[in-house]
Amino acid sequence: MMATKRKKKTLTAGSTYYKQFNEEIRALVKEGVTDFTLNAVNGQRYIATALEGDLTFDIHGVPGQDLAAFMRGPYVRVRNNAQDGVGNTMDNGRIVIEGLAGDVIGYAMRGGEIFIKGDVGYRVGIHMKAYLDHQPKIVVGGKAGDFLGEYMAGGIILLLGMFSDKPDAPVAGRSLGTGMHGGVIYVRGEVPENQLGPGLHAQPVDSDDLKVIEGLVKDYARELKLDSKAIMGENFLKIRPFSHRPYGNLYVPC
């Protein structure tokens, strides 16, 4: 991983418009800078979007919409909260968010990991998909809004419900996993059955599942300085699609 020669650079975002800020980052990447520390980030959009390779971004402040969209490879750490669209259609790499994140996280992502310590908004992990060795993973430490994993076509979502600011909310909102036709959603503790999408049921995990969960939790806990034993100290349930072709029998030729 660290084979390339490292070159560090610290930038201050301040009130720089996102277009200039990202242009500067792209130019520095071309010059060989590999490790970025971005200070005073104030909602600048598209940071690390469509960047490729062995790069790191240490982000102080709140990055704007579509952080790391289409990203392939870099490591992004956000020391605060993130907004909507994190990891949109991302290919590979890792994003660690030490706070909470907004809506539409990991939309259609195909690979890499997104680790969020706190809560996430609506429509997270919609249409995640797996292909060969690409296995996207999202771990949410808090609770999720409606439509988590809708249309999910592959990959893993792990929902812990532990580090939440919403004590009264269910662990996931309504239409959980609705229309999923691939992948798996693991939930720590109980799954509110009435929140599940049509045709879906929560099932107990088996030893293979537990191995996957354990591996993922270990990574997650290390990245966010949490106790993996405490996270594992509770039952998990899984939600899987009932078919790879959920709408295969819907039609008649006219």
Binding site: R45, A50, T89, H134, C254
Partner: protein, 508 residues
């Protein structure tokens, strides 16, 4: 035959086999992917099952002795202009299966075709017509945002140069493009043919939402890569591969709904290109779930511009619906460089029949309204307009341009050029003409060299015709016709229709 289900009797086509001409060679048996023809072991001859015939005419075309004719089955129903046979047949099918009616290709319903009600002008006496065979004629078209004005500075050497910084453009030799038809919906041979024909004629083709196979990246300058809600095969190489990026929001044949590429059509190459597992359905959600507003659309447009480093224009494709002009205004303000509008007669590989036949509006009305609205708001130069959805000939193309389009997409016409007979069963994956199928044997029926040649021929032929019509109007550049509605007149149209189209009645 007595105890068959009712829909077995009321099928659409009959196979006429001339017994004297038939030599029992079984070509029809091998050609028919729906198994309408079969070898009868007991009778030792070729037989057929009329109820399986879908009317593709493949057997008729390949029968070496011309023994076959496919006819519409003469209807046994009593004539009834309300309960036409199609409604009865569909009800029988749905009563049997409980299924949603699925259809392929553009809508066959009888709604007004305004192309046929508009006529072009020509010069007589007062301004000379131009003969394109001997005089220069410009069809070159640039798609992308245009500046409000250009600033020119004169250098020290006295030569002028452009000071205004232009935004990226797609350059077309003809105001036509091959429309978005995904690899998966149609097969690789045809994608290769479209890529080659586009390169040869200096136009572009659109990948559709199924990604771009690695071997076609070399045709990138003549490719628009599409990003739809399923994001199949969308990654940063793909986004940088084309001359433009198109966000597919809607499709004329199925406004407001997504798509399901059936798992049966997903073979190894399709799976590799879309980056989805073999055999699983590829489901495109109805909306992009990251676009719930114009502001969200702006966000995706600029995400794509960031990803492609502002080097290519971004197009947004929508279906023509009731408030299309207000939507188009929002799209223009969200930063799109091109707006593609697909009318309700646009083609599809699969759409619920009720949606295809009942939702949306004709492209002619939508186009005229969008062009007018953007002009009224003073933002027409911010975007190019591409029209599509049932453009059948160069006459339709030139009328679209006079109504305000910068260029058109050709989808159904592209498929017809390589042999499609509009049998409308694209979603079965059994296309007997080797078009809407990924079956290895069937797709071999399309030779990419021959298909590329036919597509290039079509573009050149229509190009010549457009030049002739332009010359006849005394114009020597397609630019002079763009939005020039004075060159159009309506026939048999109401005042409201004329008003919407922004044209006068013939005779005025």
């Amino acid at each position: 035959m007595l105890f068959q289900p009712i829909n077995k009797n009321y099928h659409e086509f009959c196979i006429d086999r001339d017994k004297d001409l038939c030599i029992n060679c079984q070509v029809c048996v091998r050609q028919c992917s729906y198994e309408a023809h079969f070898w009868d072991e007991a009778r030792q001859k070729v037989m057929h099952d009329n109820s399986k015939c879908i009317g593709c005419h493949r057997c008729e075309a390949l029968c070496p002795t011309a023994a076959l004719n496919i006819r519409k089955k003469p209807s046994d129903f009593r004539t009834n202009s309300l309960w036409r046979p199609v409604f009865l047949q569909n009800i029988y099918k749905q009563a049997d299966t409980g299924g949603v009616l699925l259809a392929g290709m553009g809508s066959p319903v009888d709604i007004p075709v305004y192309w046929d009600r508009m006529l072009l002008d020509a010069s007589q006496v007062t301004n000379p017509s131009i003969d394109p065979l001997r005089e220069p004629m410009e069809l070159k078209t640039f798609l992308g945002a245009k500046p409000k004005r250009v600033e020119i500075v004169t250098g020290k050497d006295g030569k002028p140069s452009l000071k205004t910084k232009l935004t990226p453009q797609i350059e077309l030799n003809y105001p036509m493009m091959f429309a978005a038809m995904s690899f998966g919906a149609i097969n690789f041979n045809l994608h290769r043919a479209m890529a080659r024909a586009a390169t040869e004629t200096g136009i572009v083709y659109n990948t559709g939402e199924g990604g771009l196979h690695k071997s076609l990246y070399k045709y990138g300058r003549n490719t628009i890569v599409q990003v739809a809600s399923g994001r199949f095969g969308v990654h940063l190489d793909y986004l940088k591969a084309g001359a433009g990026i198109e966000i597919k929001v809607g499709q004329g044949a199925k406004p407001g709904i997504g798509g399901h590429l059936p798992g049966a059509k997903i073979n190894a190459k399709v799976s590799e290109t879309r980056m989805v597992p073999l055999g699983s359905d590829a489901i495109s959600p109805a909306p992009h779930h990251d676009i719930y507003s114009i502001e969200d659309l702006l966000q995706l447009i600029y995400a794509l511009k960031e990803a492609s480093e502002y080097k290519v224009p971004v197009s947004v494709k929508i279906a023509a619906v009731h408030n299309v002009s207000a939507i188009a205004s929002g799209i223009a303000r969200a930063g799109a460089d091109i707006i593609a509008i697909d009318g309700m007669r646009g083609g599809t590989g699969a759409a619920p029949a009720m949606i295809r036949d009942n939702v949306g509006i004709p492209i002619e009305l939508a186009l005229a309204q969008v062009d007018q609205r953007l002009r009224d708001e003073g933002i027409r130069n911010n975007v190019s307009i591409v029209a599509s959805g049932g453009i059948r000939c160069s006459g339709d193309v030139i009328k679209a341009i006079a109504l305000g389009a910068d260029a058109v997409y050709l989808g159904t016409a592209t498929l017809i050029a390589v042999g499609c007979t509009l049998c409308g069963r694209c979603y079965t994956g059994k296309c007997p003409w080797g078009i809407a199928t990924n079956d290895t044997k069937l797709s071999k029926r399309q030779n990419p060299d021959i298909a590329a040649k036919k597509l290039a021929n079509l573009i050149r032929a229509w190009g010549h015709e457009i030049e002739e019509m332009l010359g006849g109007m005394g114009l020597n550049s397609i630019e002079s016709l763009r939005g020039n509605r004075d060159k159009l007149r309506g026939v048999g149209l109401s005042d409201t229709e004329l008003d919407i189209l922004g044209i006068k009645h013939a005779g005025r």
